[in-house]
Amino acid sequence: MKEKIYKMSKQDKLREFMKGLPREEPSQDFTRKVMDRVSLEMKKTSTVYQPLISIHGWLKIAFGLLLLGIGVAILRNYFPGGEAPSVLQPLYSIDFTQFLKPFNLVTKALTNLSPTFLTCLVAISLLLLVDQVSVRFIRR
């Protein structure tokens, strides 16, 4: 019992000694420094951009268009004279040549160019492609 009292009193003495130690103080502008870093953190999180249509979205759209094209091709093959049922008429009437018109204009313009210019164009395009492939896949 005596020993217990002695230990307790010693513990209290140490508390008294420790309490006498001066508390270390951080710098005057500690809060400002932390808050500056907090606002940096906020900026970091606010500069995350997300595309409106994700890669998966674009793949789904492409797949849908492909299915539509195949559907229309099958339909035309099945009803060659245009006698498709009225429900399928809107699909039947889609004219894909309208979508290809801009490409036709480009190919027409290309045929008017000289063979030397065309060779240079193809070479530069290939170099750009190789560069992009190396940046995106190989240098990683």
Binding site: Q11, M18, G20, F30
Partner: protein, 190 residues
């Protein structure tokens, strides 16, 4: 000034009012810095460590479930940040052999420390604390300086309450051992 509870400011920060975090910084900066200082021992590193701890707390504030007090949760962050900083830099870990003091020697040391002027006592205590392991410094600091109960210290340092009690007892003994050797060198003890 009207001081609101920690949970009020935490809710505000989570709602998007980052400015409310300043209230928590203001409230806990002294304790965070003091604890970092006890573990690291260098002013610049301790300041950086305390700041890092606040930023870590800010980032993971949404994971604070409120099962423990914010103070305990935050002290745990300060403790782990400071300990990893010490391990990273491998500084200030001066582990000396344990001094086996008899009860009489401990009592003599205690009396000798008590007779020192408050300034000299602070210097000697500081020196003796510096010679302890980071874990020992933390436990002594949290128990004697911050007045935290053993259970709260246990959740900060991730030990059981009984382990903390054992460590507390050993650290105290080691501290007295260091004080004994320091005072002997100074001639304050025979």
């Amino acid at each position: 000034m009207d001081r609101k509870s920690d949970t009020y400011y935490i809710a505000k920060v989570l709602e998007g009012d980052a400015g409310s975090f300043a209230q928590l910084v203001e409230k806990y900066k002294h304790m965070a810095f003091s604890l970092s200082m006890k573990i690291i021992g260098r002013w610049e590193d301790a300041e950086e460590c305390a700041q890092d701890a606040f930023i870590k707390a800010y980032r993971s504030l949404d994971s604070f479930k409120g099962s423990a007090a914010f103070k305990t949760w935050f002290f745990r962050i300060v403790y782990t940040t400071a300990i990893s900083k010490v391990r990273e830099k491998k500084t200030n870990v001066v582990s000396l052999e344990e001094y086996k003091l008899s009860d009489t020697e401990m009592l003599d040391t205690e009396n000798a420390v008590g007779q020192l002027s408050s300034e000299e006592r602070s210097v000697q205590l500081h020196k003796a604390m510096e010679r302890l392991d980071p874990d020992e410094k933390v436990i002594l600091n949290l128990y004697y300086f911050e007045d935290l109960p053993v259970e709260e210290i246990a959740s900060i340092v991730e030990l059981s309450a009984s382990n903390v009690k054992v460590k507390l007892f050993r650290s105290r003994k080691k501290l007295y051992g260091q004080l004994h050797s320091l005072l002997k060198c100074e001639g304050a003890l025979l």
